[in-house]
């Protein structure tokens, strides 16, 4: 184990963004991301046409990379004789012009980084860089030439200080590093406050807490690979938000490294602390654009053993709404999830995922709702849920339903809802939108898009109904600019008109940085830009993302 146990802290990768020729297009479309799930949901393709989309035949993928490699190696001969580089040749219509103020990496930089981190943690090998430069959906391609893997706050601080002075752009990235085996969280079981390093994988934290009788206040499909630092900096939402609220409520403190390398200790463990501005909130959801989170303290709820799950069918959207209204009143304190999917989403899951069976096969329904309750008393909770469901059935809100009798059945119900993104990936090209909308208006958008696109696309609606969060997905056999033109900017305008948010839980990243005005006033965005300039004057952290770059130059 060497001396890693205490030393291993953040395992962010720093990706130096750069391009080899100033007049070339930088394809670095990777959003700050510590979280695979976030990638799935966020790197939606509004802009994108790329030949790497969807399930790519491996041969084709390799062939295209090889071609790129040859092509770019010619260029690097001219420009950068030392550093191996690759230009990803994917086509995407969000074109980011590389900021000419950023420096390019030279040999001295590499030597400096190797001195701080050791040769092992300074990665230049194309094969190793490739996964870090590619998003989960193979839509966004980066062209970073260097990946750094600092193991603690101190190393990270030194790196950032150096990058800032050299004006080297940096993309913080967590997820999938698997470096944190030795990272030991600290837990106070009376207050339920967990203090851990940013590189802890969510699932490891969940199992650590499980032994103490607690749970993480967030849970998402990507828990096996995403890291808590990334969850916090993207303000990940997920499945339990309806019960435990957002990370703005549950995160009690953070340690953050600013662009100039200064370490800011805000790692409080207090629930109540009204001394001055609560600056940690700036870093929650800022997608790594203001600083890099290295430590997190988070309030964890006690683990309750009685979990019940019902999978229900509703004939129309108004019934789903009424059911939610009733559930909040009649299930109140035990309601822990209220999810929905429409018939189109259900069909996709049944068609594309193996081993999924329809819990309610006797008829086809327009909507399916998944209700989860979590409480402390199995029999009284079940009685309460059954009474609620039977009442809803008598009133015609629910047409049919099934109640999970064991955990196996429960997870098969969850699998249907959580499997929708995967089924969409298998179905072909997909345009993804993650919107917050008033619940009563939410499904109107899906129906309007369905009318706009007609037979050209399969329009699917699902999401966290309990939080007013719609995942609108348009599935087509291939990416097609004419389809995209039908969807955008219509979706954003519609959302803005109904006072919704164009990004409920996925963030803005690169894709939606320019779209921020649909959800925020220009005064607000100006203030955000001022904060960005204050904390990161050279703009090296996660450039081109979150805030429209034009405001920062």
């Amino acid at each position: 184990m060497k001396k890693r146990i205490a030393a291993v802290t953040s395992s962010y990768r720093l990706l130096n963004q750069k391009n080899h020729a100033s007049n070339r297009i930088l394809h670095h479309h990777r959003r700050f991301n510590a979280n695979f799930n976030q990638v799935i949901r966020s790197s939606s393709t509004s802009e994108g046409v790329t030949h790497h989309c969807g399930p790519v035949p491996l041969k084709h993928f390799l062939a295209s990379c090889r071609w790129d490699l040859q092509k770019s190696s010619l260029i690097h001969m001219q420009n950068m004789p030392i550093i191996q580089q690759r230009n990803f040749g994917s086509v995407a219509s969000t074109i980011v012009q590389r900021n000419p103020l950023f420096s390019t990496i030279n040999h001295d930089d590499i030597i400096y980084f190797e001195k701080i981190l050791g040769v092992k943690n300074v990665i230049q090998d194309d094969e190793e860089l490739q996964p870090a430069n590619t998003d989960w959906m193979h839509k966004y391609k980066g062209s970073s030439k260097l990946m750094l893997q600092p193991e603690n706050t101190d190393e990270l601080s030194q790196i950032l200080k150096y990058c800032n002075s050299r004006c080297l752009a940096v993309v913080p990235q967590g997820g999938n590093t698997g470096l944190v085996g030795g990272s030991v969280p600290v837990f106070d079981e009376v207050s339920g406050v967990l203090v851990c390093d940013a590189g802890c994988i969510l699932e490891n934290l969940i199992s650590f807490l499980d032994k103490q009788g607690f749970i993480m206040p967030l849970d998402l499909g990507a828990k096996g690979s995403c890291q808590i630092g990334g969850n916090v900096s993207t303000n990940a939402g997920g499945l339990r938000l309806v019960r435990y609220g957002s990370l703005h409520g549950t995160v009690l403190g953070l340690e953050v490294v600013l662009a100039n390398g200064n370490v800011i200790d805000m790692l409080g463990t207090l629930r109540k602390d009204n001394t001055g501005y609560d600056l940690k909130h700036l870093f929650i959801g800022s997608e790594g654009s203001l600083g890099i989170i290295t430590k997190v303290s988070i309030l964890t709820p006690a683990k309750l053993s009685a979990v019940n799950i019902a999978f229900l069918a509703c004939q129309d959207y108004i019934s789903c709404q009424k059911l939610l209204f009733q559930a909040k009143r009649r299930l109140g304190e035990i309601l822990s999830a209220f999810e929905f999917l429409d018939a189109q989403a259900m069909n996709l899951v049944l068609q594309h995922l193996d081993g999924v069976r329809n819990p309610l096969p006797s008829a086809i329904y327009n909507f399916y709702v998944l209700i989860e309750t979590t409480g402390s008393n199995e029999s009284s909770d079940k009685e309460k849920l059954e009474a609620f469901l039977l009442h809803a059935m008598e009133n015609g809100l629910v047409s049919d339903g099934a109640l999970a009798q064991d955990m196996n059945q429960a997870s098969s119900f969850w699998h249907i809802r959580e499997g929708v993104p995967e089924a969409l990936m298998k179905a072909g090209a997909v345009y993804k939108y993650d919107l917050s909308l008033p619940v009563e208006k939410m499904y109107d958008l899906v129906e309007e898009i369905r009318i706009r696109l007609g037979a050209a696309a399969n329009v699917v609606g699902y999401g966290h109904l309990g939080d007013g969060n719609l995942h609108l997905n348009v599935s087509t056999p291939q990416y097609d600019d004419t389809i995209l033109a039908q969807i955008e900017p219509f979706v954003y305008e519609w959302t803005s008109r109904h006072h919704g948010s164009i990004s409920a839980e996925h963030g803005l990243g690169l894709m939606k940085a320019e779209k921020i005005y649909y959800s925020k006033s220009s005064g607000t965005v100006q203030l955000m830009a001022s904060i960005k300039k204050l904390l990161d004057p050279s703009g090296i952290l996660n450039p081109y993302k979150v805030i429209p770059p034009s405001l920062l130059s």
Partner: protein, 241 residues
């Protein structure tokens, strides 16, 4: 013909089993309990036989403490017509269960008795064979297919034999979900309560649990850095080549 199905309440299949600190058994307080998956399959098979017209009634029976009634309710919601709960202490060994089942068969006189192959808590796989012996009934074990011939009053049971497929009998069927309409119907179905005394079964245990301990922990794997190292380890540590 009536079919009787025995169902057992066990620690849920998905729960990680923990041993009590005093080593007297498995921790069950505050742990999710569900119907034994093999019992679910047994019940599903009985319901299918009834649906295809070979049986008139399916009776679910369970023995143990009061909470067994919850598990019987699940059985009724799946479609059993009525249920019998034999009140008994939590720890029952296969022979006691077999004797209780024999007594219940004598009361209810079913034409067919279906049990899950084993309970996932103790993995005994004894009760079915014992009760068949006590009743002196023919039996088929590890069924992967059951075909009834009504006229000849014969059941043909396929079973899978060795070959390493321990869960092969899970393929018999896929148990149904408890739907809301059926849960509603189950509310009005009767669960009869009985005791061992009424059934004239002496609850004497010939077995005593001395200690329950966890199996030895599996050692973590190692990643070898070269083929040579792998060969060396296979030869000198694992002694397999």
């Amino acid at each position: 013909m009536k079919i009787m199905v025995a169902i057992k309440r066990v620690v849920d299949y998905a729960v990680k089993i923990r041993i009590k600190s005093d080593k007297t058994g498995v921790e069950t307080t505050n742990v999710k309990m569900s119907m034994n998956p093999f019992c679910e399959i047994a019940l599903e098979e009985a319901l299918k036989i009834k649906e295809s017209g070979f049986a008139s009634e399916v009776i679910a029976v369970s023995m143990g403490p009061a909470q067994c009634v919850d598990t019987l309710r699940t059985g009724l919601a799946m479609g059993a017509d009525r249920a019998i709960h034999v009140d008994a202490p939590a720890t029952l060994f296969p022979l006691s269960v077999a004797k209780l089942l024999k007594a219940l068969v004598e009361v209810e006189k079913p034409g067919l008795l279906i049990l899950g192959k084993q309970a996932i808590d103790d993995d005994c796989n004894q009760t079915g064979q014992m009760v068949a012996g006590l009743l002196n009934w023919p039996q088929g074990t590890f069924a992967s297919k059951v075909v009834l011939d009504k006229e000849k009053n014969v059941a043909t049971v396929d079973r899978e034999v060795d070959g390493g497929l321990e869960t092969a009998d899970l393929r018999l069927n896929q148990p149904r979900y408890a739907t809301l309409p059926n849960i509603m119907k189950a509310k009005s179905k009767a669960i009869k309560k009985m005791t061992a005394e009424e059934l004239k079964v002496e609850m004497r245990s010939d077995m005593e649990v001395v200690q329950v301990i966890e199996p030895p922990k599996r050692k973590a794997g190692v990643i070898v850095s070269s083929v040579d190292e792998l060969v060396d380890k296979l030869m000198n540590e694992a002694h397999v080549i």
